[in-house]
Symmetry: C2
């Protein structure tokens, strides 16, 4: 053992990767030192050398910057406890149990990555951060005094005392419904028990098992209007151990959210059925995730939920009708924590449900989760985070300010209101290229990797079929048509090109472009172009409003969240002016960021505090109330925009020279604009401007 | 208006009866001053002059001791708000609304007694104290901001903010099950609402009504093994507005507590039936109390319960079998607070249940309530508080120390094991006098005021009948037999007196005294005397143990709680040595002290803190573990006691000269002793000493 200088009574200890450091008296257990510094090290058994969760290793060498010479010999010799654990459960050579290993000199301690990181969340992106665990619920093994006639405290009271003394907690309570089971459990475990403590400021015993137990799971659920996704995490390692997903069964009450609200307006007694549908689906998902992982649902002690405001309300059993019309009042916006038994969702009844806060009436807990995950508020870059849906949720800002709004894009990006539109499913056209000389297209179809000019496509396409065009396909088609000069900056299909290509065809007073001719004809009609223009203009106008409010004329980074964001080619999104100009390498899809935010809140309670604080700080902009929305909308009808320059885009793509073409006659376009936010809810019509007719 | 000295900017205000005082800037509302001093003044509307609960009056005159010249003119003139209230609801001439009346000079303010006192609790005893109200649940009228699209907080969140701002509270939460109803309620009340706030450290909205509402009730329930009593209090005045009582329906599972535990030992699945029986009875009682008062059960927001440990457990749904044998482990001993919806007892589901703490396995929440009510811990006098039952609960002490124990008296005092014993009911002999010369008795019977030597008795007795002897009757009978020399100090009926009186009759080897000869013969047999001796010796030995532990040879005051304590003549109780010697004028029955304690905790949260602290401090003595119990027991078999002097008793009563009489032969007395604590539960036999046979 390296000897310490005579008379030295403490040592410097640095914990990695957190970098926290402090001096500790020689003989202090490493676990104790970590706790004093607030470095999270798991321990279920409370330092008894049973659970093995508190493993650490020593970084050997001279750390000049920290003035530490670290060596495994600066720990106390391998203890009997560790030997017993190693024999029973095995312990890697470089590992020590931090509850048993005592500090005997300066040390750099590594917290192994599998104990401090949720590996599943380390995505392959530069900004991905490992999620340190600091769960709000932890397992605590305790040894409880037996009943004593001379100190006649109740069994529950003695249990609470044991937890307080052995886990250094104060003011511990016990969930009332647990109390009738405590006597039997303590006796079954011969006065040893493991309790689950939920601690969000008031440590509470929420579950109990006889003896030692080290299984603890948590579930993160993203309740989408179309699909519900559920991830089961092992809370002791942070690993996602299984996932399950299902269609939202509420679809039978209405395809989109507003039609479900309409259903309730017509059937005020229909609320229980809607609530039951979503809770039942979630219960089945949890069952499946738990079953797939070979876990026990009673070991699931935490459940975190995100969802848009309407799903948030329906899940909680709240009538969402107020969200169907101005002023779009949420029943509750703040984060909620309550026992699972109050919902009946099939986890341990004493487990706690955490709902992330909603930002506003159309910017839900899903947007809050996505914002937490993508962290515009943590950096200097002005970041735009967009989740495209029937209502696009838009968040803009950096660590100084964050603003949020929703914009009524309508369902066009989901293929609705497009003549050949369909959901993203096999057979849907998802990629389009148009030769600017011949105006001939090439396409790629979901379910087939080859492009249509490849022989493989010809061979296999009959198996898949070409059934329609999905949201990302229509964006590419319009982008390519624009690049090829088939449509003008104003969105008019240039009928004069019919002379050059048989694919430009007249239908009534307008023209269309024949994208595919097979069993089905797939065309991009003038109406289709208008529908996409309206949708993208609504989104862009919302983004511009936030940029105005922030006082910036550019964004540094764009993150596209959600399924749609994952499928569109960011170049085409910018080309049609769906998103503002930005260096294309800083534009990326971020996948299910809402779900990631939910998992962060599941694994680490500090993220709960962060998202709650963040949502309080976010400046909420109601686009319907902003006079400039119309002006931005009108400008955004053009491709990519009538007034905004797109220098980054121009550098990456050769934009066509402007030309003016008359559309023929607009046909009832004004009426179509009602399909946005206000589609089915009275009084909820967003103030969209007139479409500039050119006839 | 009396003018203040130039430049004086504040005034001295004294509140009566609390005596709290302070200086306040001129213009401060009186209500605000009261709050700052912690003087409880009710207000439901939060100072809007609507509820009229905050009335005060000014004491006129010179208060030299306080250096205050107080005058009604030192308040601001009668305000428009007060005029409006006075017109609508009337206001006595001397009354002001303290929310409207501003301090403009020195004042002595009287808080009217009906707003600060629970009149029902002011009993006609010297030590009775008015109970100041400081309820844990209060009604708060609030005006909530309407939804604002630019500040899209949820309705619940805006409600919480309004409560915090308008009632100066922090960290207010809202019960989760209430949230789905909040939107509709706020709209019904046009953004005005009244909420019930439960605040035991964490202010929580537990109920909500549209608009202004000032009805708030609370219920205090004493769950006895034989009867359950329930009192409904108007929480805004403190008045008890109705009471109801019923037999405990668990009697069908066993007359006494231990037989109910035995029932469970034999029928482990019987718990739900026992739990349902007691909760159902309580629900019916609450229904009746609420109906009698013309109240609405949803306005009952607090319920406080006391009961012995077994009833405490059964009510909470806890299996009480552990209480049937050593070490008599309580499942939970500390006080509990939880929402009523977790039990289903028919008050507002968001109302809160408070269970007083249990002291020990045989000293329950009822004893804790009685101790709180009778307050031995508040004075200097060494006070003995006894609740006689199958297990007597004994509390001894003063403000320096309080000790508690239970003693296995058995059911003899309830008339069981007595040859002609019966419950206290019409027809039972309750008073006895024996002429020491003639040995002829006079009796008084429940249901008839006259003594048996009165002509009225002769006329009316046939209607009532003489059916047996109740607990207080047997105590008087034995006391009088002792005074008349019919039984010796050792409890032997002196057969030689058969020569003097035909009432002394031989039965086998022992003698009996014929107390009444009618349709039924009512005798006091040697067995009866022995049964009472055993019971009173057990109680006295317990008392003596506590006196030993405390280190005192006397008690200053004796309080007899419970129904039995209310009926016995304290002189006879002392004469037979049931209680220790004490100045008889300091010995009194205190009625249902447990119920009083429950009502104190209902009306004032500081009593909850007091009883919880008290129970933690009480030194619990387990008589079964004390070696001196047997010694005390043996000495206490004598009348009044073999070793202890009874100087106070001797001064009040002429005690007979000692004489020794042989009993004949004891017949199997040893076996009978099992009827005490351990009657039906294995392993629970209290260490009673052998009965000193004299044969």
């Amino acid at each position: 053992m390296a000897s310490q200088a005579e008379g030295v009574s403490d040592a410097l200890v640095l914990f990695m990767p957190s970098g926290r450091r402090g001096r500790f008296p020689l003989g202090t257990p490493v676990l104790e030192a970590a706790r004093q510094l607030g470095v999270y090290v798991e321990s279920v058994c409370g330092g008894r050398g049973i659970c093995g969760r508190c493993q650490v290793s020593v970084a050997e060498g001279v750390f000049a910057k920290h003035k530490i010479t670290s060596s495994a010999t600066h720990l106390s010799p391998f203890s009997e406890t560790e030997a017993r654990y190693a024999k029973k459960r095995s312990l890697a050579d470089d590992r020590r149990l931090s509850c048993s290993a005592l500090i005997e000199g300066d040390l750099v301690i590594d917290i192994p990555v599998e104990t401090q990181t949720n590996r599943a969340l380390v995505r392959k992106r530069a900004e991905a951060r490992p999620i340190e665990r600091e769960p709000v619920t932890q397992l605590c093994y305790v040894e409880v005094d037996e009943p004593d006639m001379e100190q006649p405290l109740g069994d529950t009271d003695r249990l609470v005392r044991a937890v307080e003394a052995q886990w250094m907690l104060h003011g511990v309570r016990c969930d009332f419904p647990l109390i009738p089971r405590i006597q039997e459990t303590l006796r079954q475990g011969d006065w040893k028990a493991t309790v689950a403590i939920h601690d969000d400021g008031q440590p509470t015993i929420v579950a109990i098992w006889p003896g030692f137990r080290d299984k603890l799971y948590g579930i993160a659920v993203d309740i989408g209007s179309t699909t519900i996704a559920c991830h089961l995490s092992d809370m002791l390692t942070g690993r996602t151990v299984s996932s399950s997903g299902t269609a939202n069964p509420q679809i039978r009450f209405g395809e989109d959210l507003m039609s479900r609200v309409s259903y309730l307006m017509m059937n005020p007694d229909g609320l229980p059925a809607l609530v039951k549908a979503v809770r039942g689906a979630i219960e089945s998902l949890i069952d499946k995730a738990v079953g797939d992982a070979g876990a026990d649902r009673h070991d699931v002690l935490e459940a975190v939920f995100v969802g848009n405001p309407i799903m948030h309300h329906l899940f909680l059993g709240i009538d969402p009708r107020e969200l169907g019309g101005a002023p779009f009042a949420l029943a509750v916006s703040g984060a909620l924590t309550f026992p699972a038994r109050q919902l009946g969702i099939g986890i341990n009844p004493g487990g706690r449900v955490y709902m992330l806060p909603c930002i506003a009436g159309h910017v839900g807990a899903d947007a809050a989760g996505a914002t937490l995950a993508e962290g515009p508020h943590r950096g200097d870059e002005i970041t735009l985070l967009v989740d495209v849906g029937t209502n696009a949720e838009i968040v803009l800002g950096n660590r100084h300010r964050v603003l949020a709004a929703s914009s009524p894009t309508g369902p066009a990006f989901e293929g609705a209101e497009i003549s050949s539109g369909q959901r993203a499913a096999p057979g849907a056209i998802e990629r389009v290229r148009i030769d600017p000389e011949t105006l001939e297209p090439r396409i790629q179809v979901i379910g087939l990797d080859a492009w249509s000019d490849n022989e493989e496509f010809t061979v296999k396409i009959d198996q898949v079929g070409v059934t329609g065009i999905c949201g990302s396909g229509i964006i590419e088609a319009i982008g390519e048509m624009f690049l090829a000069g088939i449509i003008t900056r104003d969105g008019v299909i240039d009928g004069s090109l019919a002379a050059r290509s048989a694919r430009i065809q007249q239908t009534g007073r307008t023209f269309s472009y024949l994208l595919w001719q097979g069993d089905q004809e797939i065309r991009i009609t003038q109406n289709d172009v208008r529908a996409i223009q309206l949708a993208k203009a609504a989104l862009y106008a919302g983004v511009k409003l936030l940029m105005d409010k922030y006082g910036t004329d550019h964004v540094d980074r764009i993150k596209l969240a959600g399924a749609f964001g994952s499928h569109i080619d960011t170049k085409y999104a910018m080309l049609i002016g769906l998103i503002p100009d930005c260096d294309l390498k800083n534009v990326a899809a971020v996948g299910n960021a809402a779900g990631t935010g939910a998992r962060m809140c599941l694994l680490n309670k500090s993220y709960r505090a962060e998202v709650e604080d963040l949502v309080r700080r976010i400046e909420k902009i109601e686009t319907a109330l902003e006079p400039r929305f119309q002006e931005h909308f009108v400008a955004a009808m053009a491709l990519p925009n009538k007034v905004d320059p797109f220098p980054n885009l121009a550098a990456a793509v050769t934009l066509p020279a402007p030309k003016v073409v008359a559309e023929g006659e607009g046909r009832g376009r004004r009426g179509e604009r009602r399909r946005a936010r206000g589609t089915s809810a009275e009084g909820a019509v967003a103030p969209l401007p007139p479409v500039p007719d050119q006839g």
